[in-house]
């Protein structure tokens, strides 16, 4: 077996071990590389910046544990910006695990401590509502005929923020972060097409290409592109977090991947060439 043939078949265990190392080293010793922000996340940031103080935002946590590492940091940065701007937040979850993500995010954002926000007056959490698009249409249509309590069972009559909120007309902006294609499209259908609401979306990077046509046609005013978008937003809002740490790890792991792709291709072509010469 030639050297080239051996290089076409580096054992799986070797590749995996190197990847693990490429993740651990930068986590221990961060590089702090500069971040170039993309258009799509800048558009997200600017849309929120332009909202007048006191505007009400409907925010959907459309992901669970599987999406948290990618979307959680972006969610935290987004909330920081919204609380800083004194916006009012009505939060809901179209994902089954969304209610479990909410405390994880709020632990980091600490709206009471950092921004003096009060639950019930400045933000409320409605909890999980089943049915994806049906839930969206329900909340935007006639909120009070659907929802009677918040996620902890407090009647909405005791939540001053919800007093004047009946449906789509009362929200200045709708924003969502999700791992589900149906949710990402669903909000475009329900919030943009149905009510012509300004809409911000965020999804896993692997979904970005599929969702981007909505951004191009102005149906989404901003698009958060997974962990990259999250790092951008952390940078723009001045609240560095896990996403920026992650971008150092990305530098190591993806460079390694590129090296392996190069090895794979060179050895593939060299093997093919030697075989052709032999025959």
């Amino acid at each position: 077996m030639s050297v080239w043939e051996k290089l076409t078949a580096v054992p799986r265990e070797v590749v995996m071990t190197l990847v693990v190392l490429a993740m651990i080293i930068p986590a221990i010793r961060p590089l702090g590389l500069p971040i170039l922000t993309g258009d799509m996340s800048r558009a997200w940031y600017n849309t929120v910046e332009q909202l007048p103080e006191g505007s009400v935002v409907l925010f959907d946590i459309g992901y669970g544990s599987g999406g948290y590492p990618s979307l959680g940091p972006g969610n935290i940065a987004a909330f920081h910006q919204m609380f800083e701007k004194n916006l009012k937040l009505v939060i809901m979850a179209t994902a089954l695990e969304g209610t479990m993500m909410y405390p994880l995010i709020m632990e980091e954002v600490k709206p009471e401590e950092n921004y003096g926000a009060v639950y019930g007056e400045d933000y409320v959490f409605l909890g999980y509502i089943a049915g994806e698009q049906t839930a969206m249409a329900g909340v935007l249509g006639d909120l009070k005929s659907l929802v009677s309590t918040d996620y902890q069972g407090t009647p909405i009559s005791q939540l001053p923020l919800l007093e004047n909120i009946n449906g789509a007309d009362d929200f200045a902006l709708v924003a969502y972060l999700t791992t589900a294609g149906g949710v990402a499209e669903g909000w475009v259908y329900q919030a943009y097409s149905q009510y012509n609401k300004p809409l911000l979306g965020g999804c896993l990077s692997m979904m970005t290409t599929s969702i981007k046509p909505y951004y191009d046609s102005g149906q989404l005013l901003g698009l958060m592109d997974g962990i990259k978008g999250a790092a951008d937003l952390e940078f723009l809002t001045g609240h560095p977090g896990d996403a920026i740490v992650s971008s150092d790890i990305l530098s190591f792991t993806q460079t390694l991947v590129l090296v392996f792709i190069a090895i794979g291709n060179i050895s593939f072509w060299m093997t093919r060439k030697t075989k052709e010469e032999e025959s």
Partner: protein, 206 residues
């Protein structure tokens, strides 16, 4: 110092167990996978019942008796497991399908068809040459990709016009390459969260 919190230890165990599949299929992974399926279903039941209480039972308790119909429909969903009366589950499913299909297609034709075509009809000439070239590439991409998916007209795919759908296929492959590159970032971006957890919360070395 390593964490002394039992919760962190259990979480670390399951993190490593779920990762182990990448190296090779093994019994620890199988244990983790079965646990995952079990807890996911358990969580779904808890959230389902909470939903029924919040959005159904609360209405009934306030005297909206019409909600009895919903509860009957909901219970009928479980008729599918009965050998003789399984067809009863078709009533609630028919309701859900009608609602689901109606609510999505009514807007899909607007968002995915009319709006996307409207975007394609914007002027090709931009303020600068670079912008014009970009507009033309985008336009060619839309038209050729669409033509690739026309199946009932043989003439578009053969003969002198045959290059149009072929260009469409190439444009799509270029776009899929971008998607592939982003997927790699997506997966790593997700796993990094676990590495940070293991190093920071469990081993406490960062």
């Amino acid at each position: 110092m390593v964490s002394t919190d039992a919760q962190i230890w259990i979480a670390a165990f399951f993190t490593i167990a779920a990762t182990s599949y990448a190296f090779r299929d093994n019994v620890v992974f199988k244990f983790a996978e079965n646990t995952f399926i079990g807890v996911a279903a358990g969580h779904a039941i808890v959230m389902g019942i909470k939903n029924i209480r919040d959005y159904g039972w609360n209405h009934l308790a306030q005297g909206e008796m019409i909600y009895i119909v919903v509860f009957i429909l909901g219970i009928l969903l479980y008729a599918r497991f009965h050998d003789k009366y399984y067809w009863l589950y078709r009533y609630p499913i028919a309701f859900l399908v009608g609602n689901g299909v109606g609510i999505s297609i009514r807007a899909a034709i607007h968002s995915d068809f009319v709006k996307q075509i409207a975007q394609t009809t914007s002027p090709l000439i931009a303020a600068d040459a670079f912008g014009t070239i970009n507009n033309i590439i985008t336009f060619v991409g839309v038209i050729t990709a669409l033509s690739h998916f026309i199946f009932t007209r043989e003439d578009i795919h053969t003969g002198t016009l045959g290059w149009i759908p072929r260009v469409g296929r190439w444009m799509m492959l270029l776009a899929f390459g971008a998607s592939f590159g982003n997927t790699i970032m997506s997966r790593f971006g997700m796993y990094q969260g676990r590495i940070i957890f293991l190093l920071r919360d469990w081993l406490q070395i960062v």
